[in-house]
Symmetry: C2
Amino acid sequence: MSKEKLVTEITSMEQDFAQWYTDIVKKAELVDYSSVRGCMILKPYGYAIWELIQKELDARFKKTGHENVSMPMFIPESLLQKEKDHIAGFAPEVAWVTHGGEEKLTERLCVRPTSETLFCEHYANIIESYRDLPKLYNQWCSVVRWEKTTRPFLRSLEFLWQEGHTAHATAEEAQEETINMLNLYEDFCKEFLAMPVIKGQKTDKEKFAGAKETYTIEALMHDGKALQSGTSHNFGDGFAKAFGIQYTDKENKLQYVHQTSWGLSTRLIGGLIMVHSDNNGLVLPPKVAPIQIVILPINMKKEGVLEKAQELMENLSKEYRVKIDKSDKSAGWKYSEYEMKGVPLRLEVGPRDIENGQCVLVRRDSREKVFVKFEELEDTIKSILDNMQKDLYEKAKNHRDENTFSATSLEEFKQKLEEKQGFIKAMWCGDLACEEKIKEEVGATSRCIPFEQEKISDVCVCCGKPASKMVYWGKSY
Amino acid sequence: MSKEKLVTEITSMEQDFAQWYTDIVKKAELVDYSSVRGCMILKPYGYAIWELIQKELDARFKKTGHENVSMPMFIPESLLQKEKDHIAGFAPEVAWVTHGGEEKLTERLCVRPTSETLFCEHYANIIESYRDLPKLYNQWCSVVRWEKTTRPFLRSLEFLWQEGHTAHATAEEAQEETINMLNLYEDFCKEFLAMPVIKGQKTDKEKFAGAKETYTIEALMHDGKALQSGTSHNFGDGFAKAFGIQYTDKENKLQYVHQTSWGLSTRLIGGLIMVHSDNNGLVLPPKVAPIQIVILPINMKKEGVLEKAQELMENLSKEYRVKIDKSDKSAGWKYSEYEMKGVPLRLEVGPRDIENGQCVLVRRDSREKVFVKFEELEDTIKSILDNMQKDLYEKAKNHRDENTFSATSLEEFKQKLEEKQGFIKAMWCGDLACEEKIKEEVGATSRCIPFEQEKISDVCVCCGKPASKMVYWGKSY
């Protein structure tokens, strides 16, 4: 289809949330489908968002001493099987390569669903002494998980991500790294994506296959469902024992290393959509917007308009990601397109504006319109973009707080979730049986045991036995 | 192994070139092997070189209007088969996924060996009108080719690369893009990697499966073998016809698009090694060196030494990629390690230097040593690094020129290649039979028909019939 057709009305989120999401993904030109089931094409605009996420995260990783490497995309079946919980978790969802060219392989290779086993094998080869520790590696790549039902960004057969894998001398250091990376993720979501998250620990039922402990950041979407937005795992020495990753300490004794892994994926782009966007399309926080300002010359044929627009473009490009649209499409059409694409700021400049020494700025989220004198333009733009970044965070946080409820009984739990979807805070005794019963009867899973605990009551919301842990529950993507 | 063991003597290139190459790859810590046959692990130092290459090329692509996208890694068998020359070329060397989880797939998927078919399918979906053209897409990813014998960087089952894929309204535009990208590659190799290349066209025998014309840049290695370092293909409308990629032109008539693709890979790192390095290890042109300057404090325990070294580190880091090595390893050990890793400049500073207001600079390639007053340090470093970048290019170019010979008969051809391996310039009538005979009798393949033609004689070096094309021939990686 030509671009002209792409900008049309989208389904409102109140009418059909899933369709609203799909409409944005397609009409903001983030993603397209291919003939490969469940795999997505990231179009230039969608990929540009990922590049900004990557650049910011990569800088943060490097600043904290992490180094990038590249591991093979294949894992021999025997290697994947070395850690028993890990293979049990991943075997049902991997893609198997059985033939190379015309020949049948003597051992099947899976396409990596995650790379713990490859990093472990490598660490076993390169770590000998305490001097080799810590190893703080990360890789940017794609992984494959054979999902039955898929949705762009949220769940796909193949997705782009980063996976950090570290090895440490002591259990304490590994735990410190696990929490540091979770904190890095939280700060990144808050500062860069304007996305508030709940930080906490996963229950045993929900933790990663092979992990001793899994930590998570959970965000609340417009529709009240939770999105697991990043995880950080402490493996203890479980993988080290399975793979024989040992080092000699300062006393020359052999010790097992302690390991972590942590990952964030293109799923975050799905989160960005469902946390910030509206019925006019995508809304992007300025920091993660591929185009931060779009300049629209009005009445382009009038003398001086294009020149002025071009001059503004050149000045603003020093500081911002700017696009100028000189096409002959109608102003209304352009408004819709750049709203659909979530460009934070629209700058209009026409002959009369130029006469008055000013231009018009329209903010994407609030649609607030201001006339600004050229000499005040730079300061005004800076303050609008700063405010927008902050306001989007506050708005999302308010939405989350307004949609977070407490329950002290299973009836109340069920009733509150039926009234309005959101997070439910409730006490839990720690028994798997209760966790499973809640899922069965209420349809909510445990999202995390938050670091910031509150005492909702003294007893488990399910069985009534004494309980000291407060858990966030919810329906999830 | 611990790092201490990694720096040892390496095989000299005169003694065993292949072993010299392997030693550098391992001992400069560029690559490690995994249990996946033919796949390599890019270690932090090796990956850092790739990141620098990526950053520079990506900026050049974007500056020339190209956009990054991300395509699936899988290609359904039926899609791969749509263009008959393409499938014929790639079928013998692809990896096949036959199972997802526990289920057998109804259609096999290959792991992409290259992504023409995926881009074509996408272009058929998104191109409608002349307004949608040109499409100038690129992606950074890894691809898989089921090679029988593999060598790190030069030929591996999986390798990292970029693949550009473009669609244009006219044959002229497609040809222009093909040549522009070849020129971009040449300039990048020259300016960034200090690697001289011969630009030219591939013969029909050597062109890419499905291409109308293939252009190449060919570099000469230390051992006189050629390395195909990058290719740019003009597909004409062949793929467009196979995939039905049509647009309506300004007269509202349906037309087929004209397409190109072009790629560079981690192979270039193999080229960097074999063009610049020596018997002490890796030599890297400053622009592509992950560490440009290593600072070694001498007699660290003496008062003021570490402070001065740290001060230099902080100042120089504003401009360069700098590392300071404060470990208690011996100076000799450190010299060897950073020579092995190809760090362009070593800066030593000890108590007596500080007294004299100076430090020592040692250049990696020439091992030239100079004492420099602190106040002249920045200027001196700039000029040494600039010179080193230039000198490495000149040296490589001289080596290539000295190892480029002409031949007017098959005997002379054979004899010259037996005396010394290198490029042979010889006339060719254009017949496949002659090309094959030369390969069979002399063991050399046609590298390219260079843009810069010379008249070596009037007749084909093989059959003696009139010939107007001068071809570069050689043994190749």
